[in-house]
Symmetry: C3
Subunit: 505 residues, 3 copies
Amino acid sequence: MKRARIVAASVVGTFLILWGASAPPWAAGAETSAETDECLECHLQLNPGMAGAWQKSRHARTSPAEALEKPALQRRVSSENIPESLAGSAVGCAECHTLNADKHGDSFEHNGYTVHTVVTPEDCATCHSVEADQYKQNLMSHAHGNLVNNALYQQLVDSVNGDYVFDESSGALTVEAHDASTDADSCLFCHGTVVEVKGVETRDTDFGELDFPVLSGWPNRGVGRVNPDGSKGSCGACHTRHRFSIEMARKPHTCSECHKGPDVPSYKVYQASKHGNIYASTGKKEWDFQAVPWVVGKDFTAPTCAVCHVSLVATEDGTVVSQRTHRMNDRLPWRLFGLVYAHPHPESPDTSVIKTPSGLPLPTELDGTPAKEFVITAEEQGKRREAMQRACLQCHGSSWVDGHWSRFERAIEASNQATLTASRMMLSIWNRGLASGVARKDNIFNESIERKWADVWLIYANHVRLSSAMCGADYGVFDRGRYYLTRTLQEMKDWLDARGKAKAD
Amino acid sequence: MKRARIVAASVVGTFLILWGASAPPWAAGAETSAETDECLECHLQLNPGMAGAWQKSRHARTSPAEALEKPALQRRVSSENIPESLAGSAVGCAECHTLNADKHGDSFEHNGYTVHTVVTPEDCATCHSVEADQYKQNLMSHAHGNLVNNALYQQLVDSVNGDYVFDESSGALTVEAHDASTDADSCLFCHGTVVEVKGVETRDTDFGELDFPVLSGWPNRGVGRVNPDGSKGSCGACHTRHRFSIEMARKPHTCSECHKGPDVPSYKVYQASKHGNIYASTGKKEWDFQAVPWVVGKDFTAPTCAVCHVSLVATEDGTVVSQRTHRMNDRLPWRLFGLVYAHPHPESPDTSVIKTPSGLPLPTELDGTPAKEFVITAEEQGKRREAMQRACLQCHGSSWVDGHWSRFERAIEASNQATLTASRMMLSIWNRGLASGVARKDNIFNESIERKWADVWLIYANHVRLSSAMCGADYGVFDRGRYYLTRTLQEMKDWLDARGKAKAD
Amino acid sequence: MKRARIVAASVVGTFLILWGASAPPWAAGAETSAETDECLECHLQLNPGMAGAWQKSRHARTSPAEALEKPALQRRVSSENIPESLAGSAVGCAECHTLNADKHGDSFEHNGYTVHTVVTPEDCATCHSVEADQYKQNLMSHAHGNLVNNALYQQLVDSVNGDYVFDESSGALTVEAHDASTDADSCLFCHGTVVEVKGVETRDTDFGELDFPVLSGWPNRGVGRVNPDGSKGSCGACHTRHRFSIEMARKPHTCSECHKGPDVPSYKVYQASKHGNIYASTGKKEWDFQAVPWVVGKDFTAPTCAVCHVSLVATEDGTVVSQRTHRMNDRLPWRLFGLVYAHPHPESPDTSVIKTPSGLPLPTELDGTPAKEFVITAEEQGKRREAMQRACLQCHGSSWVDGHWSRFERAIEASNQATLTASRMMLSIWNRGLASGVARKDNIFNESIERKWADVWLIYANHVRLSSAMCGADYGVFDRGRYYLTRTLQEMKDWLDARGKAKAD
């Protein structure tokens, strides 16, 4: 290890000469710590893109102590007691990557410091404790377990990620177990992997041989990542490292990283909406995406995702319209996507605990009846609806808002009804033995007709609802909306007729 | 009602104190009327997003009188005689929401004023009469009736928006009637709803109890909305309220609200085109989207949708390249999408009057022959082609333009031919009783094979044509273009073989 | 011809008067040649959009001589010996459109000059010879022949672009030959047409009657266009005429013109990635897209397509991270799309020479085995992998990079395995005579089941791989990723079961 330090030191000299006489750009505000300076000596050279992003960040020029001096509404840090050792300098490499070293399973000796690769919500909580606590109550922080610990969803994962093998002689198509790498590249890319230390390896670097931990499930920035310190999530999923720009988190492109696909087309719906149009046409170039609090009518004139779901929004006179929240269903009465039926939001962010009376690991029975004890009450739904409508009313009159919500909740009902019809056809198909389902202990997503059923709720009903919620026009009709939903019902009927007849013959 | 005014007045006092000594931002240009000031006293507080957008508008700082002083080519108002009562002040809340009160079925007493919620093209015509008149001749103003009063299209609507019910014992899948809310959330979101007063309700507001009309079909900003004053359309569909920015109307995101879906992929095709690339790469940040007239080569160097279809375009020396028009097929010889075959544009914007010789409510027979008396002549097509080519020639040489148009018109022919092949297969299927069609008085879109036929013309042939028209590359091939078109023909053939054989057995 | 010149001259007078006293904007830097001035006299009026784009270009204000004075790393021209006749003036109309007149089959007399319409890589090579030479080694320059001279691909082209005819009495669906216009509007739009002079025509222009060559395959800006001077490609495909902005070439919208469709979803994957998010959220408005060399961490903090694949990237101290290259697989060990299996990149950009041991015109056998003598060695793959990883390391640590690449190469393996399964089913279907394939000398893409097989590799396996390569999240799962890949395998099995049974009956 010592050898490496020596090499580094000699390079630094050369580097500082190249840098010239001018002060380093990150010195514009608060000073960086001696530890961070030492990190930068090598990493500015090794990873100039990484370091360059950080240099443009607020972290690089503001100390926590300065941040705490702001009036309450303008404050970007929420922890009351930030350790004195950290408070005085800019938030640099060492401040985050050496924090809570004893809790980090991935800590390792690096050039004289104990550092860890995976910075976690627990690390960020040092300055942003309120947000970290809220995020623990956020469905997204449990995204890994909610997928992996749900028997039904694991069937979907197996049928999607599995290796398919065809045997010509028997005509059988079988699905073989897949490896963790495929899961990490697929579902867990967004849901989050489990990152664990699996050993140590020595690498030959520009600064000599160095030891590094071998991490499973790495890299990953999934929202429900299970971290080596036991915490859940990755703040960097939305607060992109190493700039951690509030502007970026407030722009819809960030949400689109995971909420674009046909299973959750929120971003596409937003883009096609009037809101998305205003953002794209004038907002992107005119709005102030940095202001805290975010003033409606002044800093922005139409919502991005963050306005309705996350940000602290206020009026010019300081009245709070919406409190900042990192429990992102605070203003959502209904859970619209990802499950067979839309339903009141689950009580707990850990949905792996849910069981319906009939024993399904789902928040609703297969006929759509919610598992009442696990979902929020109608009263709580009312509060959340009202909280969201307060955002709507900043730009819309009350008749507009009432009309919109009544139509939207009718779309939930109608799309649930369509799913019920699909489920009834699917049950009939299983019951008649035209496909192997639960009764034969078979995966319920590994036959083409089963996927049609899944399409109805996982793709098309989601489109109808999200489009209705956010005024996405074509996404409720032709772009995987009702046109495709109803055609899939017709196709299931067509299949049932043909296979039923063939069987009868 | 009186109570409400008193509450409002006391709040206003507080509000003005909060506002401080500085002049309100909307006072920068022309002064607002006393009536508008009174609106703003409450609504700046109630709807700061709505008010904030208006404050950034040209309306908020320009009086019609000032607007009329501009040289003809630079003028943004077209009415010759703007009432004196309106001419002198900025165009604020009261100016639009109290206009033509006697004609507005949705007028109601509000805080001492007679106001209406739904501002209509007739209201806008006060200052923008030429555009309002042109828009009456625009297909889009008739989008509601053209859909709702067409028996064939109503079958499509019923099959797409209907509630499907499966009866396990009989195996029947039936489509039940759907409600107006679903139509408003689906097709009529863009085509426009009928907005009518259905009664009055009293609401408890921040300013006490107030009465409001109950409106059917509200909210809606569809281009063919049928308004409570009998007019058709919503200027706000493109001129987004309450900023009404010409910049926004000229940017393609506005058109994309309705022209993005697979039925009308114009925006997607544009994005993939060289034009869309220039706009995205350099235009968005460099072009002047506010200039009137819009000078080609100076204000912009590649078209947006508006350049070719709507805007007043001129050269630097003041020569007019294209006249401003709100009858958007002025430069379109062919109607490319939304119907079974591409055909010369209809004569009248009200297409519900069209009948083919054989009695179909369509501009072409099922074999593609146009209903001649209802569509424009070849001569008129020639004029429109030439008008559009004038726009092309601003950036392209004449060989380029001729080559492009000849290729494009060949794509119309080839895609119509492919549709004819699909229609022949569909007729054969109906004739052989493999699906229930017109002959059995059944909906012709409620069976999966019928939807395949619909896909051919409603989705894929449209892609081929729009991609050819605007150089959309993959949208003419792999992205719902020829690759999908031809595969659907193959699938129809496959279905016909299997079902035909099954029936023969 | 003389008549035309006279007309032009009289118009010019008027024009110059209109222009006023101020110097023309293109005179800001180097002076234009007398020849170019004469071009502009008419074409500024005729094609103000074309001329306006050029006026904003670096070409319009920089002479080659000035360009050559820059230090090596900053230089945008690469030819050592630029002819003196060109070196001193700005690069205007005449400089390019009269170059190499004797080699241009499309040269024609125009107003006293010998000009050509189609400017080619050979013309651009006058100043940019290194890039032109590299481009000759780029797969894209051979895109026309690689498609047209490959028997297998021609079957795909025929089945996609052909005219389908249905005969009701026999129930046959036959594919007729299609014309060159359809190919140009479809596959060759991106792959490039053959542009040849087919004759001469006289046109009536604003300046009188003029003669022009009649060009086949025109217009076209495909990357593999075969030009009238025998050269291949169109620099304008990426360096959009007539501004030729490096900014535009570096922005991903340019690549998206051809790499957006479901066959090559690179741009969509990029958009959904963290990289794409950073570009959209902050890069677009903050980065310097003009700087040469392009400094990582300063000019940009996340890659666009160009950063990884094309541009000269350096660090602030002048260390070169990646050399500029126009052979775009210099840093690509694997060819991911467009073929049945991913495989080591071909040795030669002309892939029409490739034959597998069994005689297929493909770089792999139908079971995935690479045609070894035609693809790069494992050693060469290693070099290219390392070159790309150098780019990754600018922003990511070595554990990140290693983990990413190992996962990516596993995705290649798994998607190839899935394709193998599909191919085995397809072979079984052909062998059992359930579809007519190679053995019956039939087109292997003209039956619906064959297209399902094609979807597996041409659409879905590509999505899985490109999404894995560039972290595209949903594009590897729900958006035409594994969810669709595996469902297509299930559908093929379903089809095989039903048809196999029907045949057995």
